[in-house]
Amino acid sequence: MASVKKQRLSDGLSVTQKVFVRSRNGGALKIVREHYLRDDVPCSSICCDDCEEYYRPTPDGGKNEPVLSGEPLDLGKQNIGKHYLVLDTNVVLNAIDLLEGDKAFYDVVIPQTVLEEVRNRSYPIYMRLRALCKNDDKRFAVFHNEFKAASHVSREKGESAQDFNDRLIRKCASFYTEHLKSHKIDIVLLTGDKNNAEKASKEGLVSMTLHNYVSLLPNFAELEDMLPSNETFSRQLNEINYQDYYSSARLMGGIKNGTLYQGVINISSYNFLEGSISVPSMPKPLLILGRENLNRSFNGDSVIVELLPQSKWKKPSTEIVDEETINKNEVGDDDENEVIISDQERKLLAQQAAETQGHDDKVIPTARVVGIVKRSWRLYVGQLASNAAASSQNTGNAAKSCFVILMDRSLPKIRIRTRRSRELSGKRIVVAVDSWPANSKYPEGHFVRVLGDIEDKDAEQEALLLEHDVEYRPFSKNVLDCLPKEGHDWKVPENLQNGDEQLAKRRDLRDKLVCSIDPPGCVDIDDALHAQLLPNGNYEVGVHIADVTHFVKPATALDQEGASRATSVYLVDKRIDMLPMLLGTDLCSLKPYVDRFAFTVLWELDQDANIVKVDYFKSIIRSKEAFAYEQAQLRMDDQSQQDDLTKGMRILLKLSKKLKQKRLRAGALNLASPEVKVHMDSETSDPGEVEVKKLVEANSLVEEFMLLANISVAKKIYDEFPQVAMLRRHGAPPATNFEVLNDMLRVRKGMSISLESSKALADSLDRCVDPQDPYFNTLLRIMATRCMMAAEYFSAGNFGYEDFRHYGLATEIYTHFTSPIRRYCDVVVHRQLAASIGYEPLHSLHRDKAKMDLVVKNINKRHRNAQFAGRASIEYYVGQVMKNTQSTHEGYVIKVFSNGIVVLVPKFGVESLIKLESLGDIKDSHFDDELYKLTFTGHNGQSRQISVFDRVNVFVTSQLDELTGKRKAQLKLA
């Protein structure tokens, strides 16, 4: 700090200058910040008249209003009557859930200092805090204390940044205390830092910790459980000593000189003590084995690892390890009984070590976590460990700590402290993680709220939405305000020449014979088609996509909501929409017999379905009919129907077959997934039966034209916007992904999959047929699908053209254009296409590469989450179906471990683990990992061999998992 000087200007502003000179990377870096102090920063209290003139208009004509109420909460204590709260940074960081709740914490002042600190420490919490400040009900106000002349202080020589910030916050509180004295409003400074609280008291401020404050509130009991844990757990735990993380300087240095590696840790869902991490400099992921090496990392954390010496390198475990089978008997309170590593864990480790020495051919480098860059902590759903609840039966209502077992099995259990363990047992609850100290075996957290009873349909649904981070709350008012005011009565204007320039650019296609083909019961119809024979013998084919961007204008609240949801989520009996119902199922939906706006891609195709000409424009269409797939199929097959609409559909069918043929010839893959559909009883909406999804020709008709439209549009927007065009790519899978599968195939069946190109892969998959087992080929396709890379969205500037390739579809360039009602990617593509045909200029949001990167990152994440949520929903319902029906079915072994096998049952699309214990005698088993064969003695005394790809009969029941409360398929060998 070189100089600080103050100057008062004539117009009332004064200026401070701070000059820092510090050296980084050897060079000198000067940081000069100007800092204008002002008086006109309002205090935001309604009852204060002095600040009235300080509320200045914003450039767009709006005005900030005072938010703090004149009648805040009155505690009626001697020094705390009616009061406002001033929060310290650590309170916000630790107790944001509590602040967001509607039970307490109104009229709160957030000093600018705190806001900035929170922003630097955790951006998501900052966003939540900002959202709170916007919320009119909660009455949170940001006070720019560093810019207000009366509350500004300069940093003293030698004062640490932390101390300086604390002093700024105290100054802010004392300013408010003085400022509002005449209005009889007290100020309470909440802080988690005892030092700070003491200093504040010395300065004559009212200051207390969060816990003390909450204990004064009338609804104390309710709030107590939600308090963050860092103070209640302060007593010394000594169950384990994790290694301390390296200092940040050492971490940075290590990464720079290549001795440490950074990556995202991925904990195996079969073995909670085994993680892997992909680092750019290594061809294969590194293994991280054991609790100590994982060193307090959560699945999905961004961590820094260090390689272990070669003597500790191992092969991935062939064992299934479940946290609960090992640490089943722990209760949160019984810390004394816990040893650093339980004996069972030790045994496992030793076993693995021995195995490693046996065959050193497949040894993989192992590593340990030495630092955490970014936690992936969020809210988690789980339930109380059952033994904790049981033991609390006799202890009454005293607060005690107990474990919460999370639904996600790759995560450790979380220790919380609650008085209501009895009440909470058997419920799905939401918890937040606060910290994971080095001396505690498990992370510590606090209770947030109850979702409902375990296995209750609504609670389970909400749980799985929360677990997959799906926004499911109803649309907020300012989002709904962006919808057309006419509501359901909105109509396409009668007069197309009413002076609206954009309307005049639309082409009127209402005379074309357009129809839509969708799954039965579909209400959000994105796409419609038409085809007709042209006089020159070619065909005119049009794909019409709902014109969502006519209603969703960029940078509106509606658009932002859509962008953050990014996709609709389809659960078995519920759909979580990306856009409000009014748009999705009515105004945008291309319903039959009404006029609708559409975005049209119009081709001229020759007899062999080659593109002669392509045109893009916005249009008005009137769909003649909305078909379900089967219905369309019947109509096309029925030769007595000879009307023009049916003829058009037959043209489409004919062309689609040619398109498909061309695509397969180019090497498009035909993969499989064990997808099933759950039928619901229409009256009770209880799940009825499970069915494997069926496909008819009409499905592929629609699909082929959508692919064609997507490809054509991708080319067009890439030509126009080579940097920011929103595209979708699917990378070629690395050969290593297929190593295990190929090895299993070679050993067991004498077949192999070729990976040279997607065509070679497609052909070799076709060749792998077991004449005795027609399902084998499908099984192989399912397993091959799992070895594939995931397709992803990207903006064109991030990859070279040759990397745009969509491996699965075997096309050079691809995007998503055809479902704007349910995918945000398509909305962006619509806007880019509209700009490229000169319909309207492209908003800067989609022209800025940095902003597009954020959009892309979000939709990729949401897209993945939506898929997982959909699958989890099916899994839940399949579990419910099986509750009623227990039977024996055919299954296939897809994985063999030394202590169990994984079996897939095609009928239900479920796969589950069968442990060695339930197969037979544990001691008398032999696992041959060269041949993927497990030999064991069954319970009936007969020796039995099971290897991968075997067809087995399994007895399928569903069982409620005592620990996680999840109903899961339970398989037994029949």
Partner: protein, 246 residues
């Protein structure tokens, strides 16, 4: 993602200004009476610029060899000194830094429209700019400093040229950007002739949506008029002093 809140929902910028406020503007003329015919010092916030003007004269010292004098007006030669200590990171600039060259050409074009050309045929006017400290608004400071130094040198101008930079944060135009803002937002620099709405200078090096540009420029013109007032005030004070001394 910027580490800082560049423009808070409460309407304050990183340094505490509102969207339409200038930074502290200070200027002085005749700072180096013995070294040049005209000199000026301009400070906008933490940006500090020194400008020396020599001329009109028959031969320029810094003129590139072979440059011919013009019968219709002066030859402007603008040299820019950007010493290593001026910027935040201490780095040496090459002698013919392309960006500085570009800026000098832009300034040359701007002032060839401002100087009364016919008074200075077959002469050289030598302008040398020195950056003492830089905290955003490079071109704008240069332009303001040159205007003052030219006036101080007694060279006839049609009117003041006052310049300012304006940036765009989402939908909000921000007047007079500092370095922090410049590094994250796209901005445009404009120079306005006197109290008119005429632009003699405009430079935009980033992408700005066309529909927002108009708002930026109209805010910029207001800012420029304010800068002109401040400069004019300073000139009148200087003039007064001169009168009193005689």
């Amino acid at each position: 993602m910027s580490r800082l809140e560049l423009y808070s929902p409460e309407g304050l910028r990183v340094d505490g200004r509102r969207w339409n406020e200038l930074r502290r503007f200070e200027c002085r003329t005749n700072t180096h009476p013995h070294a040049a015919d005209g000199s000026a010092y301009v400070q906008q916030g933490n940006s500090k610029i020194l400008c020396l003007v020599k001329g009109p004269m028959e031969h320029g010292a810094n003129l590139a060899a072979g440059t011919k004098l013009d019968a219709n007006g002066p030859v402007l030669s603008i040299t820019i000194n950007y010493p290593p200590f001026a910027a935040n990171d201490r780095k040496k600039r090459q002698k013919n830094d392309r960006r500085l060259q570009e800026i000098s050409i832009i300034l040359k074009r701007c002032f060839m429209k401002t100087i009364v050309l016919k008074n200075y045929s077959r002469t050289v006017i030598d302008i040398s700019l020195t950056v003492l400290a830089m905290d955003g608004g490079l071109l704008a400071c240069f332009c303001n400093a040159i205007t003052l130094a030219l006036i101080d040198a007694g060279i006839s101008l049609y009117d003041y040229v006052s310049a300012i930079s304006i940036g765009l944060f989402d939908q909000t135009p921000l007047l007079d950007m500092n370095t922090l803002e410049e590094s994250d937002l796209s901005f445009v620099t404009i120079g306005v002739v006197g109290d008119s709405d005429k632009l003699n200078l405009m430079l935009c090096e980033d992408k700005i949506p066309l529909d927002k540009l108009e708002r930026l420029i109209s805010l910029g013109i207001e800012g420029c008029h304010r800068v002109k007032q401040l400069m004019d005030h300073q000139m009148r004070v200087a003039g007064q002093e001169l009168q009193e001394r005689q």
